[in-house]
């Protein structure tokens, strides 16, 4: 189990991580989402032991990753740009990783590189952005570590290669590798993850992918009888996702303390049809109203 406990991190006196708490069970896939600058990369780097937390711990099987770096044989970080490997060929990287990670699977690495159509004897510096990401993902998964943390693995990857990368990740997950994937590809994340870690204001909210709403938000298609209640629609417990003619698609806060749903019922609309809440709805609901991405 990879557990993050009460993690705090401030950079330039600005808190980036605040009381971050979650756990990723073995074999599960977690999607890490949030606005640009929300602290996703900082969180992944802290989990990988690259950044030291100000407070709190990242624990693997109950032991701190920062105090016991040897635990990182089971936690591999795949950055969004493998610039640390510049100057190496793909072979060179695999050769070095094979000395670091005891279960490094060279056959798997070769096979994946062939599958991606990547040359193994070319300097990583000369790879395109997409090729670098495909190479990094292949290298990270070849370690056969129990946890692989991926920072935007499909960043700059073309649509065909993106499918290849995602299917590779799915195969790894099927083999029991736990993945934490930071990405803005909400549809893909919804399909392939078990858990969603939503970052907002430095904190992380955990949602299960099967039920992202978790009883906290409801999506409805509504047709009001008469004029639409403008004041109510602009309230903080309601978000208008779409408005075509008289048909409104709304997100309502259904957490304790919000009476939005009851208020809507009281208006006796002509149509009030529940719709499934998707991950992008949750994203918009939780993060959509902000203009400050920092």
């Amino acid at each position: 189990m990879l557990t993050v406990r009460n993690l705090h991190k401030a950079i330039d006196r600005r808190p980036v991580l605040k009381q971050v708490e979650f756990a990723v069970a073995p074999g599960l896939v977690a999607g890490l989402i949030g606005r640009n600058g929300a602290g996703k990369t900082t969180l992944l780097k802290t989990m990988a032991g690259i950044i030291d937390p100000d407070h709190g711990t990242v624990e693997y099987e109950g032991q701190s990753v920062h105090r016991h770096p040897s635990l990182k044989r089971e936690i591999v970080f795949v950055p969004d740009n493998p610039e640390g490997w510049f100057g190496y060929t793909a072979w060179g990287c695999a050769d070095l990783y094979a000395q670091v990670y005891p279960r490094f699977d060279m056959a798997y690495f070769k096979d994946t590189m062939r599958r991606f159509g990547l040359p193994v004897d070319r300097n990583i510096r000369h790879f395109s952005k997409g090729m670098r990401m495909m190479f990094s993902t292949a290298l990270g998964l070849s370690t056969k570590a129990r946890y692989v943390l991926l920072d935007e693995p499909t960043n700059g990857v073309d649509p065909i290669a993106k499918k290849q990368v995602l299917s590779l990740l799915m195969e790894a997950a099927a083999e029991g590798v736990s993945l934490v994937i930071s990405s803005h590809l909400l549809e893909e994340l919804e399909r392939m993850t078990d858990t969603i870690l939503l970052m907002k204001d430095g904190a992380v909210e955990t949602h299960t992918s099967e039920d992202v709403a978790g009883g906290r938000v409801m999506k409805l298609q509504v047709v009001f009888a008469g004029e639409a209640p403008e004041m109510w629609l602009e309230g903080r417990h309601v978000r208008v996702l779409e408005n075509i003619g008289r048909v409104y698609t709304l997100l309502l806060n259904t957490e304790p303390g919000s009476a939005a749903y009851e208020e809507l019922q009281g208006m006796e609309p002509l149509l009030m049809e529940p719709l499934p809440v998707k991950l992008d709805d949750l994203y918009v609901w939780k993060l959509g109203g902000e203009t400050d991405v920092g």
Partner: protein
Amino acid sequence: MWVSALWKREYDQSRLFLLFVPVVHFLALGLQRMNKWFFTDPYFVAGNLRNLKNMTDPIPAAYDFGSFESVGRLWLMLAVFVLALVQIGTERRNGSQELLFSLPYSRKIIFLHKWMLGAALLAGSLLINTFIDMVVVPSSPMSPYFSIVYHLTQLGYSLLLLAAIYTLALFIGTITGSVAFQVILTIVTLMLPIGLGPLITNSLSLHGAIDIAVPSGIGIELQNTLNISRYLTLSYDDFSWLQVLGLFDLLIVAFFCGMLSYARNRTENNGKLVIFRAWERAIRILVVLCASMIIGLFSSSLFNANERLGYDIGFIAGLVVTTFIMLKIAKLRFKV
């Protein structure tokens, strides 16, 4: 603890560099010895030998009092200085540090492997070139003056001195956030005793406090002792056990401070002048004081009527301006 992957990583980063250093060292030492005794007009060689015969202590003179070794040390110092920049400073910007920190090894072990590579480079180059020199000398016309003690003393002294300077450069790299500032701070540290002594002495004398200032003889002695760069070109006759002890202390202190700072490295501060707040404050104060004293002394030369007043005006103006500039610079992030 030996980790072959870390060694390989360090070696890969500076492979070509490592091959060139012993060659350049040979050009400065072995080749120069050969030039003097093999490739020179026999008339001059005979003259040199005649001169040596007339001396009471001909061995140091036969070896030119270690001038070839001094040139070799200067080249090696340049080499290990650049190596320290590559190992610590540049890795902050090229993703290498993040890669290393993500590996399952403690930062102390990573630092140890970096240091071992530099130490091995120095030891390797010095051993190879000392051996070459020890072959060249007995087979040359100066063979009657061959001294194994001389060669081993030069080897040990050079190794200790260069290892101390290299370790100091590594340590400075662990507290600075960019290559540029690692370069500046290392050079300043090596040169500081040369400039700081006269700055303080002149400032005190302008204020009539010369009586309480350190007497000039001891001052110069202290200045020479602390001036590490001076040891690079020190004559063979001037070597002493006290220097060895001092250099050994420097090596040990720089090594442990470097290892500790590297272990506590704040990667999020990469690009800043200094990555630790306490060090940043201390360096800022030192820079502001030195700059203020320089401006004060410059300003005093403009006020012939009252040099002291001129100094005080310049010092205060320098204090305000440099404090402001340093505060601004401390907030910036540099890409080099």
